[in-house]
């Protein structure tokens, strides 16, 4: 059980072609028992961050503390962390049971207790039938579960899980997401989970730290990330299909504000507080962000409306994705599959003005 805090943590890899700054001034406070996901595209520094928390990578600057105690100079063993690796890292000459028992074996736990714990973890992860197999005989998914089991069998301060679901098929992944969530609820341990898959991160974590370009972009729960993204990167990264970004000009007559899309006829109407913020900053142009899910065909009381031409109506089973065009502007909307509007036809779409996100045209920071 531990609170993990990162204070201005930096990671610099020296190289012949100049230093690579992999993590820049990262601040993160993970509460005791919290499930936190580090989310970001490949190369964003999330794995470096994780390896510094574990103690496999030296910290170039800043302080990592467990329960307020700096651990910069401690080995992984002293930090008492357990880790599941993306590449499984199973011991090839051991059977599954021996792999699971190894962390206990090196601590000098007696055989009877070891066997008991192995059986318990095997039941939890449904790997009982393969306990006597060797890693090379297992599928990727099985190996991944064994690797997870080897972390779970310990009694660590923090669990570190590195892309542990990347090699599971969709069905098994769903099942494992559920299991992992349940494990977290029973054990109430601090878990740091690294992934590039936003679905996993949002489904599992209490809070998600979104990283990009070696920097922390935003750290918050899923509603915050979804409704109040810190900048265009977070808005574009969270959500599928990605948020539509449109450059717009501010038309303001003092009472109503319209954000007219450049080279197009449509305009979005922001809600009161946001309009006030735009006025305060005296912006002439902004970036409008609207999620495809928030453009509806159904019209509710108080909704605003825009009209666009359908270019592609892409049927995806539970919904359809409309690729739309208005003048030079292109954007997408997610609609029920019953919408049959085809190529070249126009469609009226509704949105709630509070779903219109507005970003600063240069800094791309969210305006609230």
């Amino acid at each position: 059980m531990a609170r993990v805090t990162l204070d201005k943590v930096n990671k610099i890899y020296p190289s012949r072609h100049g230093d690579v700054h992999a993590v820049q001034d990262l601040d993160l406070a993970i509460e005791d028992g919290e499930f936190v996901a580090l989310l970001g595209p490949s190369g964003c520094g999330k794995t470096s961050t994780l390896r510094m928390i574990v103690g496999l990578e030296a910290i170039s600057g800043g302080v990592i503390a467990f329960d307020g105690q700096p651990v910069n100079d401690q080995t992984p063993e002293q930090r008492n962390v357990a880790m599941a690796f993306e590449t499984y890292a199973l011991y090839p000459t051991f059977t599954v049971a021996q792999n699971l028992a190894f962390p206990l074996e090196v601590k000098g736990v007696d055989k009877a207790t070891r066997d008991e714990k192995v059986a318990e973890v095997a039941r939890l992860l449904r790997i009982e039938p393969i306990l006597d197999s060797f890693p090379r005989q297992l599928s990727g998914g099985q190996q991944q579960r064994v690797s997870l089991g080897r972390a779970l069998i310990r009694d660590p301060a923090v669990f570190i899980l590195d892309e542990v679901m990347s090699h599971l098929d969709a069905h098994l992944k769903f099942q494992m997401l559920f299991e992992l969530k349940r494990i977290h609820q029973t054990l109430e341990r601090t878990i740091v989970y690294v992934t590039h898959d936003q679905m996993e991160a949002l489904a599992l974590a209490d809070r998600v730290a979104v990283m990009s370009d070696a920097k922390l972009q935003q750290f918050g729960d899923r509603d915050t990330l979804y409704d109040r993204p810190a900048n265009t990167f977070v808005a574009g990264f969270i959500g599928e299909p990605p948020t539509n970004f449109l450059e717009a000009e501010v038309r303001d007559d003092g009472t109503t504000m319209r954000l007219t899309i450049r080279d197009a006829s449509a305009a979005f109407v922001p809600d009161g507080p946001r309009a006030a913020a735009i006025r305060d900053q005296g912006l002439r142009t902004v970036i409008v962000g609207i999620r495809p899910q928030n453009l509806h065909v159904r019209h509710d009381e108080g909704d605003e409306q825009i009209t666009a031409t359908v270019e592609i109506n892409e049927y995806q089973g539970e919904h359809s994705i409309l690729s739309l065009r208005d003048g030079a502007a292109e954007f997408r909307a997610m609609v029920p599959p019953s919408v049959k509007t085809g190529e070249g036809e126009t469609i009226d779409l509704s949105y709630r003005s509070r779903d219109v996100m507005v970003f600063h045209p240069e800094t791309e920071v969210f305006i609230s």
Partner: protein, 292 residues
């Protein structure tokens, strides 16, 4: 075009082999070859080999040579390779050290033999001089490295000096290719250096070490060059190995029939041992998933 290589193989391999098998059952020697007249003698040549004390002694020498030569080389090579891997992390330093350690292997075995014959000379060899300087030997005391008791061990020393680098290279490259993530996992699990070595590294390198041993074994089995230049099998046949006797009998004494008997018995022994090795290699490859 295919005919030429086949012709060459027939001339230099198949024909002499058939010739050898034929003469193994005859009393061929220099005179009978000269007169083109030899008599069949049945299994007499084989009987002579198997009942000869000289041959039995040479088998014992071979056993000592394999245990303390080939095994020592593999054990030393493995230890050096792992020390080199664990304690030298700089890339160019590793390369420099590897080159230095591999240098003896670059010398022709016969030259190495001559070199060690000088180094091990009793009266003014460098080895005895060093032992004198560090105080192991005193006054006029000298170790006679080519005495009945020691000459086989002198061969072992010279051969180990030359060939330890081969298992070293094999084990080093094996260690380099072990997955680093496994070691990180062991670090996170809290395994000590000894536990990692004993439970992970050595078991993972087991097959590689076995292959290094097989290579050294095959070479040691036909070991003849250093025997020839360092001790000539002596003194009093105390450092003779089976292949050397076959060579002596056939080329020096021209007892072609008897030498063919030696050669065939040595060949059968090699075939048996190689079959065992192949069985082992097959198991290794099955475990590694190379073949079903």
């Amino acid at each position: 075009m295919v005919g030429i290589p086949i012709l060459v193989i027939v001339l230099i391999v198949i024909y002499p082999t058939i010739w050898m098998f034929y003469h193994a059952f005859h009393d061929t020697n220099m005179m009978s070859l000269f007169r083109q007249d030899w008599q069949p003698v049945g299994f007499q040549n084989f009987e002579a080999v198997l009942t000869s004390e000289r041959f039995r002694n040479s088998l014992w020498h071979l056993a000592i040579y394999l245990t303390f030569g080939a095994c020592l080389q593999v054990v030393l090579g493995t230890i050096l390779a792992l020390i080199l891997y664990e304690s030298v992390k700089t890339g160019w330093m590793r390369v420099v050290l590897l080159i230095i350690m591999v240098l003896p292997m670059m010398l022709p075995p016969s030259i190495t033999g001559i070199l060690w014959r000088f180094l091990l000379q009793a009266s003014n060899g460098a080895v005895n001089h060093i032992l004198l300087n560090v105080g192991i030997l005193e006054g006029t005391e000298r170790i006679d490295w080519f005495s009945v008791d020691l000459s086989l061990w002198s061969l072992v020393i010279a051969d180990t000096w030359q060939w330890t680098a081969l298992p070293l290279l094999i084990v080093f490259s094996g260690r380099v290719s072990l997955p680093p993530a496994v070691y990180e996992a062991a670090k996170v699990d809290g395994a000590s250096g000894y536990q990692v070595m004993r439970r992970l590294t050595l078991p993972m390198l087991r097959e590689i070490i076995a292959i290094a041993f097989i290579l050294r074994f095959m070479d040691a089995y036909k070991f003849v060059d250093k025997v020839y230049v360092m001790t000539s099998g002596g003194p009093a046949q105390s450092s003779e190995l089976p292949v050397y006797i076959a060579f002596q009998t056939g080329i020096r004494e021209f007892q072609v029939g008897l030498a063919a008997g030696y050669a065939i018995i040595i060949f059968v022994g090699a075939a048996l041992i190689i079959t065992l090795f192949l069985q082992y290699l097959k198991r290794v490859m099955r475990n590694a998933g190379v073949v079903d």
